[in-house]
Symmetry: C2
């Protein structure tokens, strides 16, 4: 029985690598640069070299390593096939096979957002649950869905792309994906700033957020800080934002009926006050059999990816 | 190795029972009444008696039977626990254990809509696929979701309750579930009739549907028949109906990324013309990685439940 496993969270700038015990204790973590030139041809060999060097440094033999999991910014199916990753310069190939050959160890690859959900289930905000939805509210909405302890990968690795649910008609702005009215146009950190700008433009009422806008510091956090100070317009923006999130989560619940929604990303820095606005709307719009779902903050931050990648290879 | 398995589709009036080969060939099917009196206390023993009598009649020994699957009209979790079934008078208990003891055979229970999806995947419109969404467009919208060949049960057996996704704000009518703006208020057979009545009331334009309404024969089929005859108002209703379904299916795809949507229920009797209206809207609203999904008609009709129940016990 192996005593170690590695988890890799591959991003467009750096690859984070973690060495774990099978119980989920992190023994060491470090980063290496991601070299995206020439179609990203060096990325996997760089990571393999780093892992093998770490094993040598620590005197870890191959038969002591259960395997290496890796989360990748692109759609990955259950066989480890990636269907292009623009940030890495990658086309279509099988990561499990290519990376496994370089390492001489078992490899399991997954989409980074899905893998982060697995990490939060294993050792983060979703610990103790087996049916979870992770929603990372940042520039967009990243999603990862776990049912009965397993990632919902989907047919082309696009399971959990909840940021692109259609939830509003008539939206004039275009989402990053090219559509109009996607969930992340309202429910992300960026979406909340959009809602705030629209609300500020709709009247001349006083608000501390007008100063923030003038100074270029209007953000989801600024809105929630103003809410805590009782700013009327900020409260209205938080209500509208919470309604979008409550409705979107209610629709997700009707599909996969999770036990817990784990909320991460920049918006989650607002803390528990966020849940006041989300939960009442979730309760209003969700199907009665889904009302028992709880809401938790993600706790692993940027380490969710390496935890989840390690868990991926543990099965 | 067993040579037989049984699939039971339990409804509030009758229980359908099928005897299958492990390859999915149906050898015999029949029905018995569902006795719902006294909290439905006789239902499972009646079915067990019927199954055991059939085995005796055919000279089938217990070790030749792989097991008995059963689909039930209520939320059932992965352990076989049912959380009330109002149509049967049942409270909370473990079906796998209770029914298994009565039969002396392995039992696996699931929600009837989810089990029907498994049946359509095994031998129906979803054959050859492993990531499917079954949408039964009838009085409401029944849903069943399969990812990687397994039912998405959800934490309380409410996975696949897609009819209760919130997809419209400001709906004055109340859904059967008590909410307003649920998917099935627009996308079911009943929903289409509602849309038709609203459209007819909104103008005085001529339409054959006005006669149908006066005669009490306004139905989803009547609308699509009128579409085939070029009726302008019927075409507008079909467009609106298709937009709701396309948007709803696009949102489901962003969660579970299926290969195929299998459409059953009364609305599916309209045939392939239905897809003209759904698919163009699905393509418009769905995330790009989900555009490859195909749409198929369900083919097993009322037998989907017994097929899926048999498959449930085969794993």
């Amino acid at each position: 029985m192996g005593k170690y496993c590695f988890g890799v969270d591959l991003g467009g700038t750096t690859a984070k690598i973690g060495l774990f015990s099978p119980e989920g204790d992190i023994l060491e973590k470090w980063e290496i640069p991601t070299r995206t030139e020439n179609g990203g041809e060096n990325i996997l060999s760089d990571i393999a070299d780093a892992v093998l060097a770490k094993m040598k440094e620590r005197g870890i033999a191959k038969d002591e390593v259960i395997g290496v999991g890796i989360g990748v910014p692109g759609p990955v199916d259950d066989s480890g096939m990636i269907y292009r990753a623009v940030n890495l310069g990658w086309g279509v190939f099988n990561i499990n096979e290519t990376f496994g050959t370089l390492l001489g160890l078992p490899v399991k690859a997954g989409n980074d957002a899905n893998v982060a959900a697995l990490g939060e289930m294993w050792r983060g905000g979703g610990m103790g649950y087996k049916d979870i939805v992770l929603a990372t509210l940042g520039t967009g909405i990243g999603g990862g869905i776990i049912t009965n302890g397993k990632i919902v990968t989907g047919s082309k690795g696009a399971g959990g792309e909840i940021g692109h649910m259609h939830i509003e008609d008539g939206e004039p702005d275009t989402c990053g994906c090219g559509n109009h009215g996607c969930f992340e146009q309202y429910g992300s950190a960026t979406g909340m700033v959009r809602l705030a700008k629209r609300r500020l433009a709709a009247s001349k009422e006083e608000s501390v957020l007008r100063d923030a806008q003038a100074e270029g510091t209007l953000s989801a956090k600024a809105v929630f800080d103003a809410v805590k100070d009782g700013d009327k317009i900020a409260c209205e923006i938080a209500e509208e934002f919470g309604a979008y999130l409550g409705k979107g989560f209610a629709s997700i619940a009707a599909v996969v009926n999770p036990e817990v929604f784990v909320i991460g990303g920049g918006v989650s820095k607002a803390g528990d006050i966020l849940f006041q606005y989300i939960v009442k709307n979730y309760q209003k719009y969700t199907f009665h059999a889904c009302r028992n779902a709880v809401f938790k903050l993600a706790t692993l931050g940027n380490d969710a990816g390496i935890y989840g990648a390690a868990k991926l290879v543990l099965g």
